[in-house]
Amino acid sequence: MTVSRGEVEGLLRELAPQVLTALVRRNGQFHLCEDASQEALLAAAQQWPSGGLPDNPRGWLITVASRRLTDQIRSEQSRRAREEQIAVATPPSELLGPPADAEHADRDDSLALLFGCCHPHLSPPSQIALTLRAVGGLSTAQIAAAFGVPEATMAQRISRAKQTIAGAGFDFSMPSGAERTERLRAVLHVLYLVFNEGYTASEGDTLTVPALSQEAIRLTRWLHRLLPDDGEVAGLLALMLLTDARRTARTRPDGSLVPLAEQDRSRWDQAKIAEGVALVTGALPRGEVGPYQLQAAIAAVHDEATTMADTDWPQILGLYDLLELAAPNPFTALNRAVAVAMVRGPAAGLEVIAALEADKRMARHHRLIAARAYLRELAGDTAAAAADYLDAARRATSLPERRYLALQASRLAPSG
């Protein structure tokens, strides 16, 4: 049976965390297991497209990874006993599919793996890199390409993260109680950051430069399968789907940005919107409404409106009020100011923004200045709006955003 490179890649990415957890469960030593697991995945990626899939892909990978692990330990001149232990400890059952009753243990191990990669001792860039490699099954080269850094830099970041994990005594056990809640929050934040990482400039060869937003959705979907009753996991998945639904309408073919008000809403992905809406409406009544569910609910209100004017702005404002209580944040406050303007008029929105300017860093942030420009334009103060758009353009570091803002400035201030 021949399979395409893309199919093999998809299957390997599904199996990656399973292989790694099986290895770590038996041997501990996360850092060595992670290397061995990657080598097995690479071997499969090279052999399977031409040679066909083995009867039991998971067992094949675990066997190959175990052999590589043995080789590694041998080459590192580790104790001979450990080698034998690995050889002896490979139960034939691992070479078959998992029995039905093993699902629970697998689930906990997969979760523990994800929690470990998002360990609080690691910086967010390291958490992201390690999660994409160990749980996402991406190669170092792919992650480096996605972030636009040399492979050596990314390899260093991953190696450093693994050393930190080893030093922190990664014991592959699940935290419980309040710590579990805290750690899950860190995991969700990492997935959120991966989704928002917009460095992938083009829809190029996704095998070489993976689209991180798609990878974030895949991993969050996987997490949602493991924790179907967690409202915030469902909320994050919904938020991603509801945002991603607008992706094709958000940019023109030349790469320039299209603001929400001007997007061709017929191009929004209705299947993703339906799935996102179903997820968030299922999660909200379960209690414990967190920031991801609220953001998803806001995105859902936008996605269900047929035009900007038809949007249920009072409902969006109500949701922003709740979000400010649940997770106070200057950018949430800024979005709320725009909602205030849509409900009560631009002057009311500008008042909210003026209050935010008390924070000096916020006052200089291009997002605040751009929002103020938009509201000043709505209020009819064209000259001030043009000046703000220009100032915002100069402060933006995203090239498409900067071009968009500069265009708004020149639209309002036609030069003679």
Binding site: Y199, L399, E401
Partner: protein, 120 residues
């Protein structure tokens, strides 16, 4: 986020470093470079040759036309540049402040434009 760090200087400044201090100066810079390569935040660190070696290139009749540079006459020229990829601007500032001679001369930090496409 990617950042460019620049160090400026001139012959007078480099000449003021005593010959027996150079190895220590280099060792400190090497230690800095190693430290941030290991964290995966320093993408590259490059020292530039003396300004008498800078050239200005134009194209004339399809051929490179070379004159002596640099483009701007200033008191100090770029001596070295560093490419960072780190979590935040605060982190970039922290790394810049850790440069061996940041207590004597400032380090210039520039954000590098990226291609992120926010949902407006």
């Amino acid at each position: 986020m990617k950042y460019l760090m620049l160090i400026y200087g001139n012959q007078e400044k480099w000449a003021s470093v005593r010959a027996d201090q150079w190895s220590e100066v280099i060792a400190r810079q090497d230690a800095f470079n190693r430290k941030y390569r290991e964290t995966g935040e320093l993408i590259g660190a490059y020292g530039l040759a003396d300004e008498i070696q800078a050239r200005l290139i134009r194209r004339e009749n399809g051929q490179p036309a070379v004159t002596d540079g640099p483009y701007l006459e200033t008191k100090e020229y770029i001596a070295s540049f560093y490419l960072l990829d780190c979590e935040s601007e605060e982190r970039a500032h922290q790394i810049a402040a850790d440069m061996p001679f940041a207590d004597v001369d400032p380090v210039e930090v520039w954000p590098i434009l990226h291609e992120a496409k926010p949902d407006l």
